[in-house]
Symmetry: C2
Subunit: 304 residues, 2 copies
């Protein structure tokens, strides 16, 4: 299977603790690295986890709260010091350029590369990016300020060559890509060998949804239906549910309810409030509703 | 001796590495905590080193390069989340408010405390703060943009009570503070006991100078004459001296030359370029000139 994995750089909430950093993660789809949110310390975590700065071309900012974007100026500056020349695309809510550009203009003059801001509307689902490996969509969330999650849908994968049969029919190497794309093989005599004899079905396309920050919001269920992995914020325990409601965050149980209703394969919880010394209660309350729940932690790499 | 120590939070240069974070340190003078520079990750280091956020009332920013101030928005926001009510004073070059305020206004609304910007001129030595424990002066440095170091001069300390003699003369407790301040004791009969019989000399006042970032600049020697501890940037080794000159930074040897000429007691080097895997060469080149040199490192606490 080709790579599709998430590297957690930070999974705490606004107040950093000994144990957790603010929100940030790398989504790696077939070696395309996408940075999702960029809290303070993101570039330090990228270093620590030995991920490649130069592989990041697109950054997706869910919303303009500091714990999701205070790491941007430092990262932008570091890209410059590392001699980046490739354009950097920063996707975010509509005011992202107005908010970030003054600081970048002052501190990051003479960058050797170009920053392209790509604003998206936060009240509708839109495809905001695609390449050969993946399509990325916004997921409108319900927070104190405009906010979107992101859905990563892998593009259909190619069929697997059955080596013993291509050898048997002496299919030349130049044909392999056509076979992977589903074409039948025709040899020099005009004989047609059906594709199904020469290849096996492609792996299923995988999908990942990032939903942070958000109040409990059943509207997203249809958007994230049956994804392989859902990262959903789980800021509070049940006993702090009032606080969750007030601040437009979710409890771990609510995250699990969403996961269950959407029939996702696995739930990853994060964005933990600084008030808890560990994630035991959050995890228990989520697993009581949705057993296939894992807790995010800095340094975790999880396959989709 | 009362506390006078430095906690190194970060001592790398603009490009963070596995080993070093951008510039930041806490200067603790008799339990007054002063934050000097505030690179990205400063608040995370304050947490890790278990220093008290609430003790910090004054922040001193040497210059407006990102590696010396990108941690400010996060720290300001965290102070708010921690329920701070005391005013926060941010000292820095004249344009600091114009540069930082837009970001703070957007991201740090409704703070429960007030931020007071205290701009200083970077081309002259000025006393920018004093309290009962310490006086703080700017030290004009020579960098690509306006930049100042800071000199911390402990206020004179009080004399030590000689307990056996105050007991012998039956000096009442209410007199102790006057004795510490140097007054002679007069008992109820009118007999005068000279202060020198009842107290020993006060400890010597200590001083600390922070000089980063700067090209080799002999003008500072008179300002930092005989300080107990000098933190001086030492970005480059001798073999990269051209690069030091180009970028208005110092070599380790130049830092040591300054320390030697100023007859300081101890030199602490930092602001290491990311190009070196360790500080061995930097340290050797400094010690060849000034043996009382130590290398800064994250987590280091050094007494002045």
């Amino acid at each position: 299977m080709e790579t599709f994995e998430i590297n957690i750089l930070g999974c705490g909430s606004a107040l950093p603790t000994y144990r957790h950093l603010p929100s940030s993660q790398i989504v790696n789809v077939r070696n395309n690295l996408f940075l999702v949110d960029c809290g303070e310390g993101t570039q330090l975590q990228i270093r620590r986890q030995q991920l490649k700065f130069s592989r990041i071309e697109h950054i997706f900012i869910s919303h303009l709260h500091g714990d999701h974007c205070f790491g941007l100026p430092g990262l932008v500056s570091t890209f410059g010091l590392l001699g980046r020349t490739a354009d950097l695309y920063i996707h975010g809510p509509e005011n992202i350029e107005a908010v970030m550009q003054p600081m970048l203009s002052f501190f990051c003059q003479h960058l050797p590369y170009k920053i392209v801001f790509c604003p998206f509307k936060t009240n509708e689902t839109t495809k905001i990016y695609e390449n050969r490996a993946v399509e990325i969509f916004t997921i409108p969330l319900k927070h104190r300020i405009p906010c979107c999650g992101f859905l990563f849908r892998e593009k259909p994968l190619k069929r697997h060559i059955l080596r013993e049969w291509t050898d048997f029919y002496q299919v030349p190497f130049s044909w392999m890509n056509r076979l992977k794309n589903g074409e039948d093989y025709q040899n020099q005599d005009g004989t047609v060998i059906p594709n199904s004899k020469l290849t096996a079905a492609a792996d299923r396309s995988r999908s990942y949804a990032y939903c942070s920050d958000t109040a409990y919001n059943p509207n997203i269920i249809k958007e994230i239906k049956e994804v392989d992995l859902l990262y959903h914020e789980a800021t509070f325990c049940n006993e702090d549910k009032d606080r969750a409601t007030e601040t437009f965050h979710s409890t771990a149980e609510e995250a699990a309810e969403i996961a269950k209703a959407a029939k996702v394969k696995k739930l990853l919880i994060g964005h933990y409030s600084a008030r808890y010394d560990d994630e035991k209660t959050l995890l228990k309350e989520a697993r009581d509703v949705f057993p296939q729940t894992e807790p995010a932690s800095e340094g975790l790499t999880i396959k989709v």
